[in-house]
């Protein structure tokens, strides 16, 4: 690469050559389509997983956003797809594969028009109109689950969670996990506190051994000698939460004591011991039976508590401690002075239990009940990781569904219905726009088509059946989607393949935005691959890369 020491000249040459006008636009579209192809096969219950191995380890995943992130894409146009997958993930948590597929498909449908010399702005305008129409239609079609009884609502939410989970590795146990997720989400209530659901991973066992703790659970922390002599089970204990060290240590780092008389020696020693004993006494006096601290609890304190039948755990991670505080109604104390009853938490049952190879501290039956912990088990680390990601998706979906309370039929049914609606609408438009909206409508069919392809069915056949159903004037076929088990079609709504409307709305919105963005770019100025020395010093610009200095771009 030393011959490229003068990038400007080469840049100009190459830039004027390919990175302008129509060829550039088409090239960008091709790149996006190639990326969409990567995640294509992960869609739906018969979707496959990807194994991505990089220097940070191995990941096996089915989650669109995770895969896109790990692919480490540097192509500037294709990066947009990564971004929309991410935004979908943070906004609704699920449908990350769909959003990428939609974007890819919109571009694919646009390509022939661009090649035929249509101005991209025309396309963009039509796509925008189409997307607005589509979203309005979804809102129209969505069924509200508001106003149902708690029991009913629970089972409805579980249906949504099950639909999300069906495409994942833990799909075989989707009912099991769906109920678990719903219970967890209901437990934390409406608050915006996702971190109140803890997910703990313990290798070993099968996924059916996973369980939900209606409270908090965390791994036994590092313990000093004497710990085993503490009681490990309490009923209705009082819990003291601390953020101080209970250890014999120098109170001030930079203090120095000068003694002129050796006889004073003992008093200094006693004074130090008294400080710590004083703290410990206050803990005991508060009446707490369980003492947790974010900082270390030393061996002296451990033994002191053991003598007084108190359980203690030091170095509890902050988030666990916050969860305990929220669950038990206690307040985190930064001093042991003046510990009143109100700041102590409580729960029905505390127990140390063996889970797999670890011992777990489990607080259950908490009064406020605003936390939940899911303990995941599985045969391999990657398995549990993937299960965690899947559960995260499901949790997000349930939360979304709880808040917005509207659902649509999954299995490609909603997509087919919008597609039909747009086609119908297109006929009423005079002018070029008719063609573009038709193309948009066709692109929406990608979801049912891909579902069939992944399951090994004849996509054309199934799609024709679906089109026929959806075209019925009575509208009774509106909720028909792909039946993944038989290779035919079935009423998705009746079969409880449901997803929250907001997932679809967001996916269509984001995908249309991304497609329009790609369409509107007609020039990319990209400097050539530079060697690392230059790259480190150079402006990494918008590149989020981990600075290996390759393939950077400048705008």
């Amino acid at each position: 690469m030393s011959s490229m020491m003068q990038p400007q000249i080469i840049l100009l040459k190459e830039g004027t050559d390919t990175s302008q006008g129509k060829p550039q636009l088409i090239s960008n579209m091709n790149a996006c389509m190639a990326v969409a192809d990567v995640v294509r096969t992960t869609l739906g219950p018969r979707g496959m997983d990807k194994l991505i191995h990089d220097d940070k380890g191995t990941t096996i995943s089915n989650d669109g956003a995770t895969i896109m992130k790990l692919l480490d894409i540097i192509h500037p146009a294709a990066k947009i797809l990564v971004d929309i997958a991410k935004s979908q993930d943070s906004e609704v948590g699920d449908g990350t594969t769909s959003v990428v597929l939609f974007a890819g498909e919109f571009l694919k449908e646009a390509k022939p028009f661009i090649e035929d010399g249509v101005h991209p702005q025309n396309l963009i305008r039509s796509y925008r109109t189409a997307s607005n129409l589509a979203i309005a239609k979804i809102k129209d079609l969505a069924v509200s689950i508001e106003g149902k009884s708690m029991e009913e609502k629970k089972s409805l939410l579980a249906k949504c969670a099950a639909t999300t989970l069906s495409s994942k590795l833990i799909g075989g146990e989707k009912e099991f996990f769906a109920t678990m997720v719903v219970d967890a989400v209901i437990a934390i209530g409406n608050g915006d506190r996702l971190n109140m659901i803890g997910i703990k991973k313990v290798p070993g066992g099968t996924m059916r051994d996973s369980f939900l703790v209606n409270g908090v659970a965390f791994k036994k922390t590092f313990s000093y000698a004497g710990f085993e002599q503490q009681p490990k089970k309490f009923v209705n204990p009082k819990i003291l939460l601390l953020n101080i060290e209970l250890e014999l240590k120098s109170e001030k780092e930079n203090a120095e004591i000068r003694l002129s008389d050796p006889l004073q020696y003992q008093s200094i020693v006693d004074a130090e011991w008294n400080i710590i004993y004083d703290k410990l006494d206050k803990c005991v006096e508060s009446g707490a039976k369980i003492v947790l601290s974010r900082l270390a609890i030393g061996d002296l304190a451990t033994q002191y508590f053991a003598d007084r039948d108190i359980f203690c755990a030091g170095r509890v991670t902050e988030e666990d401690l916050l969860r305990v505080a929220a669950a038990t109604g206690g307040t985190l104390q930064t001093t042991v002075n003046n510990v009143i009853d109100e700041v102590l938490g409580t729960c029905d049952l505390f127990e140390e239990r063996q889970v797999g190879n670890e011992r777990f501290n489990i607080f259950s039956g908490c009064p406020s009940g605003q936390t939940a912990t899911i303990v995941l088990r599985g045969g391999a680390d990657q398995f549990i990781e993937e299960a965690e990601r899947s559960l995260h998706d499901a949790i997000m979906i349930v939360r979304r569904a709880m808040r917005n309370s509207t659902v649509v039929a999954g299995g490609g049914a909603i997509d087919m219905e919008i597609s039909r609606y747009l086609r119908q609408h297109a006929r009423t438009i005079a002018g070029k726009s008719q063609l573009f909206i038709n193309a948009y409508a066709k692109a929406l069919e990608v979801i049912p088509r891909q579902l069939c392809d992944n399951a090994g069915f004849d996509a054309t056949d199934v799609l024709n059946k679906l089109r026929q159903k959806h075209a019925l004037a009575s509208g009774e076929g509106a909720s028909y989607g792909v039946d993944i088990n038989t290779g035919g079609i079935s009423d998705s709504f009746a079969n409880f393949v449901w997803e929250p409307a907001v997932v679809k709305i967001n996916a269509i919105n984001a995908a249309t935005e991304a497609a329009c963005l790609v369409l509107s770019v007609d020039e990319t100025v990209k400097n050539p691959k530079s060697e690392s020395a230059q790259g480190d010093a150079g402006a990494m610009g918008g590149g989020r890369g981990r600075g290996r200095g390759r393939g950077m771009r400048r705008r």
């Binding site: 091709n30 496959m48 191995h53 540097i74 192509h75 070993g204 099968t206 085993e228 020696y265 391999a380």
Partner: protein, 535 residues
Amino acid sequence: MALAFDEYGRPFIILREQDQKTRLRGLDAQKANIAAGKAVARILRTSLGPKGMDKMLQSPDGEVTITNDGATILEQMDVDNQIGKLMVELSRSQDYEIGDGTTGVVVMAGSLLEQAEKLLERGIHPIRIAEGYEVASRIAFEHLEQIANKFEFSAANVEPLIQTCMTTLSSKIVNRCKRSLAEIAVKAVLAVADLERRDVNLDLIKVEGKVGGKLEDTELIYGIIVDKDMSHPQMPKQIVDANIAILTCPFEPPKPKTKHKVDIDTVEKFQTLRQQEQKYFDDMVQKCKDVGATLVICQWGFDDEANHLLMNRDLPAIRWVGGVELELIAIATGGRIVPRFQELTTEKLGKAGLVREKAFGTTKDRMIYIEHCANSRAVTIFIRGGNKMMIEETKRSIHDALCVARNLIRNKSIVYGGGSAEISCSIAVEAAADKYPGVEQYAIRAFADALDAIPMALAENSGLQPIETLSAVKSQQIKENNSYCGIDCNDVGTNDMREQNVFETLIGKQQQILLATQVVKMILKIDDVISPSDY
């Protein structure tokens, strides 16, 4: 790797360092993954069963391990392949959860993969295979529950527990004294078990080994062994009815943690300091004496002066005892760990019937036995053996046996071993397969075939004709409707595992099937492998 080409045939650069990555996709990826998984399983296959062989593994720094334990073999093999690693983790999770059957689970997964490969070649969708497997595993799971036997034991009647542990130990190198080892394991577990809560904390069982002697000398001690000796050679070597002070503070003048300085400017002051130091020593020893301690166990050391003083005052002591051991001693003797001399009281002393120092053979090695403790909630298994490798392997075998005993306390159900449970499941799954419409039927049938792999490997390892033996046993099971027929590995002359007393825990077997299915599903579900190309 190139993802795509543009109109002019040039590749897009979409990924970072695209040309340094390899990508395998579609059927090729699945085949490669299956091949890797099978390769790992093949290595373990010969270790299965009572006539299974051991593997010798040399670590990078030259240490040699000889073992028959699946989890250990895989752990030490340092598998590099990603799918291979999944198999290692599979074995490890079985180890964490159950502690036994680590070889079986890998063999099972390997055979499931082998069957899946055949189905893939016929063009069956991998997910359909996985789903079929899942259905089949549930059938097998429930079938195991049906053929399982409940198993009554009590603290007085531990024979059934011993029999089950013996089955585990029979495949290990230590099988010549499996009876005595099994008894040791069962007694140890019962000693620490909380039968009401069905909870066993294996941390309370200390397994200590020492080279020398023979395997038969392995013993269970209701107490603790510490690999230390008395701090002074002239201290008594045996203490009857010892009252033990367990200290975590050193035998020396206390030091403030804050930085300090003592200004000595006159001779008098120096002498006072000296006197005071001596007084400290004196007080400490006196304090121990006062509360009635006859033995001091200290987490820290003490210098010669203190040592001498202790000797003079006739107070034996052990120094530098580790924190974990100290805790076990405290639990065993019912004492309390004391952090400060001022806190020492008579109630906090631990009690042991006998403390003795024992020398071994001609070596100078000595160990301290703390026995006949007030509370035998902590026990030690002391292993002797010809060489280090042997001891390490015995430790692993004992661990397996302990886990089995623990699992039985948790769940009393057992199934019969010798492959009988697998054969029975295979028959049940095969029969159920026909009821399923669709492609899954093939996968379920393949699962049944895969279940045969374990008895087949057992027979093969025992030098029997695998196919003949298996088919004979299978027909016998169907004919007599008897799920206890297994492979007669030891040539006892009967196929009935009830008579041979070959048991395995129900949860162990169920776990094996579920775990293997789970991992196989995971492997089958991958259709795209992206990795750095130098791999």
